[in-house]
């Protein structure tokens, strides 16, 4: 009793340890036995249930939008990190949590470089007015470009540019990264859709299999129904002719539809054949006995069989207990006999 209590307390301690930021407590059992994992799990789930006593609070709808945006920006950041040119070692491994940053944090936006601002001013007169020039480093440089007259219309710069200007390449990289991000988002979206489709297909396949099984069962039932409702049908009741342990409570019935040579046998209560023996079904015809094959009786289920090979002139049915092996005629004890039929 005390050992049981101790075991429960050990389990409780381990579960309680999940609340410890340093991880679960590993209790030391005097017997050196680990705590019962089922009990640990139950106590862990109990802890998970505790907040359900609180009145739930629906988060603002914007919260999900912000979360989604953060995920997408993380994905984009992840892509940029993977690109070799933009790779920077921030000491973050994939298994480590990403550094937390507030959603919509403007500090993440990098200021344009001095060179980029100059480039903007050159191509778009007046744009520089919108930029706070005090934010740009190197104040001495700021005075270098001469102020452009307001009336000067836009025109391409007269400067001869190298084939691949480094200043443009940064904008190009941004554009490329943006396009890549959009492509990845698109791919992610389609991948998600694909997963959904796969799950739907798997579910439909399961449904289809279940329906097929039901369909087969219905077909079987319909066959039986056809048999018992067919024209020119006879029913033979099969009964034991002697009291033995094998067939004390055995009985059977045979539906026969002579017009189509169909027969259906149903047996119940027959004990499984002893070792080295086998039950056989026989058709009693005007010409003699014809074998209907072995009858495999199971202990836990009735036996059913049917076929379209009813011999011509069948007048009755027998089930005999024979030694295992092939037999052309019944030699063993008759377990069940059905000689009298009722026409329906």
């Amino acid at each position: 009793m005390s050992a049981e209590r101790n075991k429960e307390e050990q389990a409780l301690l381990v579960a309680w340890g999940h609340l410890d930021p340093n991880g679960p407590i590993q209790p030391t059992s005097p017997a050196g036995e680990p705590p019962d994992p089922t009990l640990v799990r139950e106590y862990t789930e109990l802890l998970g249930l505790l907040p359900y006593e609180l009145e739930p609070e629906l988060p603002r709808p914007e919260l999900w939008q912000q979360l989604r945006a953060a995920i997408q920006s993380e994905a984009a950041a992840g892509t940029a990190e993977e690109a070799p040119a933009a790779a920077t070692d921030e000491g973050v491994t994939p298994t480590q949590p990403r550094p937390k940053r507030p959603i919509g944090d403007l500090t993440l936006i990098q200021s344009p470089t001095r060179h980029e601002v100059d480039e903007m001013a050159l191509h778009h007169p007046g744009a520089a007015d919108a930029v706070d020039m005090t934010l740009i480093k190197s104040p001495s440089e700021r005075a270098t470009p001469p102020p452009l007259p307001q009336s000067v219309p836009f025109r391409p710069p007269a400067v001869t540019r190298p084939t691949a200007p480094p200043a443009r390449s940064s904008w190009g990289t941004v554009l490329l990264a943006a396009m890549l991000g959009v492509c990845l988002l698109g791919l992610g979206f389609f991948a998600g859709k694909m997963n959904e489709q796969r799950a739907t297909i798997a579910r439909l396949e399961e449904d289809f299999t279940a329906l097929q099984a039901e369909h087969n069962e219905l077909l079987e039932a319909k066959k039986h129904l056809d048999m018992v409702t067919a024209v020119a049908r006879h029913i033979y009741r099969m009964q034991p002719i002697a009291e033995t342990a094998q067939q004390a409570s055995a009985q059977g019935i045979v539906y026969v539809c002579g017009k189509h040579k169909r027969w259906y046998l149903y047996l119940q209560g027959l004990e499984p054949a002893p070792s080295g023996y086998q039950y056989y079904l026989w058709f009693k015809t005007r010409q003699g006995m014809e074998s209907g094959g072995a009858v495999e009786v199971r202990h836990d289920a009735p036996y059913e069989a049917e076929a379209h090979d009813l011999p011509v002139g069948t007048q009755g049915f027998l089930v005999t207990l024979e030694k295992a092996g092939a037999h052309e005629e019944p030699e063993g004890e008759i377990m069940l006999l059905g000689e009298k039929s009722v026409s329906l």
Partner: protein, 198 residues
């Protein structure tokens, strides 16, 4: 997030685990579904610990970002998804509670807690969750006050047992006994609810 209809099938632990598997594959719809299922309970938990609503919302976001990033760390053999989420939320909320700025804000928020409690009756979405809530409340209310106090200090206050002993002036051994008694009693009373999560 829309309130859940009563006709909506109640999520099972298997459904939740399947969602987490999809999240491992970076399926945003799966995250959205998980968020819809549990954000209200988790927000309530964060709010219970932090009091300040904006802090609680930030914690909720952090939790789901963590789920997004580390879904593959979920171990089905150790807990159900809902318990996993509860434990992450509690841990993050308590971390935040321990940071000084938040403590200040929490103290301020506590002063107007009674007038400013934001509850959402429409948040009671699934019948099962509502029943679970009522059952939890009833069982928690039936606990002796001193046992409930110890449990709340530990779970919502993030206090170790020695801290509880210090704060309440109760001997450490008594704190341990009360914790054990409360947990055993709850486990016995909530056996059916626990089984649903296994």
């Amino acid at each position: 997030m829309q309130p859940r209809d009563n006709d909506t099938p109640v999520p099972t632990p298997d459904d939740d685990a399947a969602l987490v598997e999809r999240i491992v594959g970076q399926d945003q719809d799966a995250l959205s579904e998980l968020y819809e299922r549990y954000s209200d309970v988790l927000l309530a938990l964060a709010r219970r610990i932090l009091v300040d609503h904006s802090d609680a919302e930030e914690v909720l976001q952090e939790v789901f970002l963590q789920v997004w990033d580390q879904a593959k760390r979920y171990d089905r053999s150790r807990s159900s998804v809902s318990t996993w989420l509860v434990l992450i939320t509690r841990s993050r909320a308590i971390d935040r509670l321990r940071s000084r700025q938040v403590v200040d804000r929490t103290l301020a928020a506590v002063q107007q807690e009674n007038q400013d409690l934001h509850t959402s009756p429409e948040g009671a979405r699934a019948v099962l969750f509502e029943q679970r809530r009522q059952r939890l409340r009833r069982e928690m209310e039936e606990l002796p006050a001193e046992q409930r106090q110890v449990l709340e200090h530990a779970f919502y206050g993030g206090m170790a047992q020695s801290e509880i002993a210090r704060v309440t002036g109760i001997p450490l051994g008594t704190v341990k006994t009360r914790t054990m008694l409360a947990m055993k009693k709850l486990r016995k009373a909530l056996r059916a609810e626990i089984r649903e999560l296994l």
